[in-house]
């Protein structure tokens, strides 16, 4: 109370020590506040950086495999099979008749002892099969092939294995080498982590996305055009708008429940297929496309419409000949962003059964399929240590896919969008 009385009596002494201290304090508070803001951003960005570093660091190893050389003496093992047998349509059958697997196994046993086959991944011999099909000449000679080792050894060689495997790795020493894991890009799901691949899930994702796009894009664009250009102000239009805004905010898992109850149980569509997955995701993506589409249509200036109407175009011609082409880049940008979201979606697809073990890539929209995010989820549940790096590698593939789509959206926006 005293100081208040003082200030009333005489003017503030701005230069006095007390005031200077106060100002310094206020400036310090200002600096602290600013630093907090900076810290918040840096913290958020470093979370992102940490996440990416962990995933890339783990996943990078998923693209490599540990190999051991195996020398196969084909002329001795086959009794002189000629390379020409393994060309043309009967090649695979002839390889089976020849008993390629046994040949590989016995070569391994010669080189690494009785228990040698335990060192190698059970499906590894298929690599030799593929090698012969692409280059039959090797059957006529002594060849050295590099085959993937069992998962435990692979993990140990990469530095995180159990003591037993570590010991084996130390014994094998220099013979072990690292090669690129082509299986990972070409195979589908498997029980052996050395043989799993991303191709089946990738193809499933592609098919599902195509179904989603074919359904959501036309419906979304037409609905956006109707609502923005023609819809009369009435109850029905209000109801449509409210529904669209609500659908955009409904949790994705609810769409999964809808898919399960309606598409699978009511309409009896094939379970686990890309068709139902695509349908469900299309319902989810459609509101996103409608909302972004409306913004794009809204941004086309009225003068364009008036000019077209003025020279005698019908209302429909105005929209389809002039407004839609001008709004299309914006609509496409929104569509790609919506599709990217659908691509990363997991929960609704779990509901409709796209979580089965799929060892062969789907070839139609009704075949049982899985998609990249679901595959990641399934692998993350595996106990085998070998799946950790595969999961991260699959995440890298998914993130690259998403990155490409977003880059495309940004490119489209910068290249084609007109600022009026």
């Amino acid at each position: 109370m005293n100081s208040l009385a003082d200030t009333k009596r005489r003017p503030t002494d701005w230069q006095g020590a007390e005031m200077q201290k106060r100002i310094a304090g206020r400036y310090a508070a200002e600096r602290r506040f600013k630093a907090m803001g900076m810290a918040a951003i840096m913290l958020s960005v470093s979370f992102l950086a940490f996440l990416l570093v962990v995933m890339v660091g783990n996943g990078f190893l998923g693209f490599t495999q540990t190999e051991l050389p195996v020398e196969i003496d084909f002329p001795a093992a086959t009794g002189g099979a000629s390379p020409s047998q393994f060309e043309g349509p009967n090649a695979n059958a002839n390889l089976q008749v020849m008993g390629l697997r046994d040949i590989v196994d016995s070569s391994i046993e010669i080189q690494y002892g009785q228990k040698g086959t335990d060192l190698f991944s059970p499906g590894g011999w298929t690599a030799v099969n593929a090698e012969i099909l692409s280059n039959p000449e090797i059957v006529g000679q002594k060849t050295t092939v590099y085959l993937p080792v069992v998962s435990d050894l692979d993990v140990a060689y990469k530095g995180e294995g159990n003591p037993e495997s570590e010991k084996k790795v130390a014994e094998l020493g220099d013979q072990l080498s690292t090669g690129f894991n082509w299986n990972f890009l070409g195979n589908s799901d498997a029980t052996d982590p050395m043989q799993v691949g991303i191709w089946g899930a990738f193809k499933g994702s592609l098919i599902t996305m195509i179904v989603t796009l074919l359904l959501a894009f036309p419906v979304g664009v037409l609905a956006a055009l109707y609502l923005e250009e023609y819809a009369p102000k009435n109850r029905l239009t209000d109801l449509i708008e409210v529904s669209i805004n609500n659908l955009a905010a409904v949790p994705s898992i609810i769409f999964g429940l809808l898919g399960l109850a309606v598409f699978l149980n009511f309409f009896g569509m094939p379970r686990s297929g890309a068709l139902v997955g695509g349908l469900t995701l299309a319902l989810m993506t459609m509101p996103v496309i409608v909302i972004s589409g409306r913004n794009a249509v809204k941004s086309v200036p009225p003068s364009i419409r008036e000019a077209a109407l003025g020279i005698g175009a019908s209302p429909l011609q105005v929209v389809f000949h002039h407004v839609l082409p001008l709004a299309l880049p914006g609509i496409l940008t929104g569509t790609i962003i919506g599709m990217a979201r659908a691509l990363g979606e997991t929960a609704p697809l779990l509901m409709i059964g796209m979580r089965a073990f799929i060892a062969t890539p789907p070839s139609s929209i009704t075949d049982p399929a899985t998609v990249l995010p679901v595959q990641i989820f399934l692998w993350s549940d595996e106990v085998d240590r070998g799946f950790v790096e595969k999961t991260s590698a699959a995440i890298i593939v998914l993130l690259l896919f998403l990155l490409t789509m977003n880059a495309l959206a940004i490119y489209l926006r910068n290249r084609f969008e007109t600022r009026w």
Partner: protein, 461 residues
């Protein structure tokens, strides 16, 4: 002939119809000695007119036929001599018929029941017979309607108006899909929930505190469908822990970016922050389970909490909070930008520092918008599935200890529906009841949030 082939054939014929319609209209145009205006519509529209006439009735017929023919096929197959050996009525008969049908359509290779094998041939015959009838009828319709429309082409045919009317109808139908979807969601949830509540009392479900779902009721009639622990877990992770992370970080980021950051920094940082929202949730879930959860558990053990679980509420909540940051940040950004600059300028002119202006003028003025944004963020967080499925665990604990494991509504929906797939057990139906609660809560949160934001916008307009 499969239905896909038939569909493409009809579409191809539609193209042909379009071509002939256009050709006739064009010849009318060139033959008329007077000016261009002799034709009411451009030849293109006449082409579309014929094509639509050719395709639409046939397409509608094909849809109806696809729905009606299975019954007809079954009836026809049952008149065959092989059907006389079938058991009369009941489950066995239906099983045999469905097996025979599956084999006849090529969905199944071998029959388990020899009787089904005997029914395959009649089925195949009936299928091909009715498919043939359907295909012939559809093609006849294409021709008849196409020719009918083609004959109608005259200079004064108002083809464009008619096409436009059909197009308008298509536009309206496309918009109605949103309503149909909403109604579909609501009805399917309500319908399945009603079946659930006929087995389990809603009071037990909403206010029970024990969650341990069993297919059959226990000795004292307890069913273990008390959802309170799930609601608590959902609120604990989504509305408390995640928001403790997301609100300060999101709000401060937004303040720094809008009030302090140089333009260049802002243009770079904003998209980078947005990336956080674009990362798929399954990636966050894996990150939470693989990296964050073990780290937090080790930390908890080191400070003496021995009960720390490797599937902790904290891990799921923190990672979810990180995911929500850009969401809170952009909502806060919008509401701060909506505060009239006169208020800010006035405060600065009085000698307040930037931070004082922000804390005492901008934030209080933008508060309703920020609160609305936070509500939207909460609604998104409680509907989030993958992070909690992968990181939060399945134990339905009612605890406020962030290091212990809790479960959420979404986790349990996934859990209930990915186990056994008996569709009539209360266990599976409970998922729909949980879904209904989730749907209603997120809907209410969104409506309230939008209303708050809208009201506040109006205050400054």
């Amino acid at each position: 002939m499969t239905s896909a082939t038939l569909l493409f054939l009809v579409l191809g014929l539609g193209l042909v119809a379009w071509f002939f319609g256009r050709l006739k209209a064009a010849s009318l145009q060139t033959n008329s000695k007077s000016s261009r205006s002799a034709l009411h519509s451009l030849p293109n529209y006449h082409g579309w007119y014929v094509a639509l006439w050719a395709i639409l009735p046939a397409a509608i017929f094909m849809v109806v036929w696809t729905m009606a023919s299975p019954t007809l096929i079954t009836d026809a197959a049952l008149t065959s001599p092989a059907a006389a050996q079938l058991p009369q009525g009941g489950f066995a008969r239906a099983a045999i018929l469905s097996e025979a049908r599956a084999i006849a359509y090529g969905n199944q290779v071998n029959a388990f029941n020899p009787l089904s094998q005997s029914m395959v041939e009649p089925y195949r015959d009936a299928i091909s017979y009715f498919q043939m009838i359907g295909a012939v009828a559809a093609l006849l319709m294409v021709f008849a309607c196409g020719v009918f429309a083609w004959l109608q082409i005259k200079p004064d045919l108002r083809a464009r108006t008619k096409i436009e009317r059909v197009t308008m109808l298509v536009l309206l139908l496309a918009s109605l899909i949103a309503i149909i979807t909403t109604v579909g969601i609501f009805l399917s949830l309500v319908f399945e929930s009603a079946r659930f509540f006929s087995m389990v009392s809603p009071i037990d479900f909403l206010f029970g505190t024990e969650w341990n779902p069993k297919a059959v009721a226990g000795p004292r009639g307890e069913t273990g469908f008390g959802a309170i622990p799930l609601f608590w877990g959902t609120v604990f992770i989504g509305a408390i822990i995640a928001m403790i992370v997301a609100i300060p970080l999101g709000l401060m980021s937004a303040i720094y970016l809008t009030q302090y950051a140089p333009a260049k920094f802002r243009t770079w940082m904003k998209p980078i922050l947005e990336v956080l929202a674009g990362v798929p949730t399954v990636v966050y879930g894996y990150f939470a389970a693989l990296t964050v959860a073990p780290t937090l558990r080790d930390f908890a053990v080191s400070i003496g909490i021995s009960s720390a679980s490797s599937e902790s509420a904290l891990a799921a909540g923190v990672v979810m909070g990180i995911m929500i940051i850009p969401f809170v940040s952009s909502m806060a950004d919008d509401s701060i930008a909506a505060v009239p600059s006169a208020m800010r300028d006035g405060s600065l002119a009085m000698g307040a520092t930037n931070s004082e202006t922000i804390k005492k003028v901008l934030i209080p003025a933008a508060l309703p918008g920020v609160v609305g944004g936070v509500l939207l963020a909460v609604s998104r967080a409680i509907g989030e599935t993958m992070i909690v499925v992968m990181a939060a665990g399945l134990a339905a604990n009612m605890t406020a200890n962030p290091f212990s494991s809790v479960t959420t509504v979404t986790t349990q929906i996934v859990q209930l529906l990915t186990g056994d797939q008996e569709f009539d057990s209360p266990k599976t139906l409970a998922a729909f009841a949980l879904g209904l609660v989730l749907f209603i809560v997120t809907l209410l949160l969104n409506l309230i949030a939008l209303r708050v934001v809208k009201k506040y916008r109006e205050a400054y307009e």
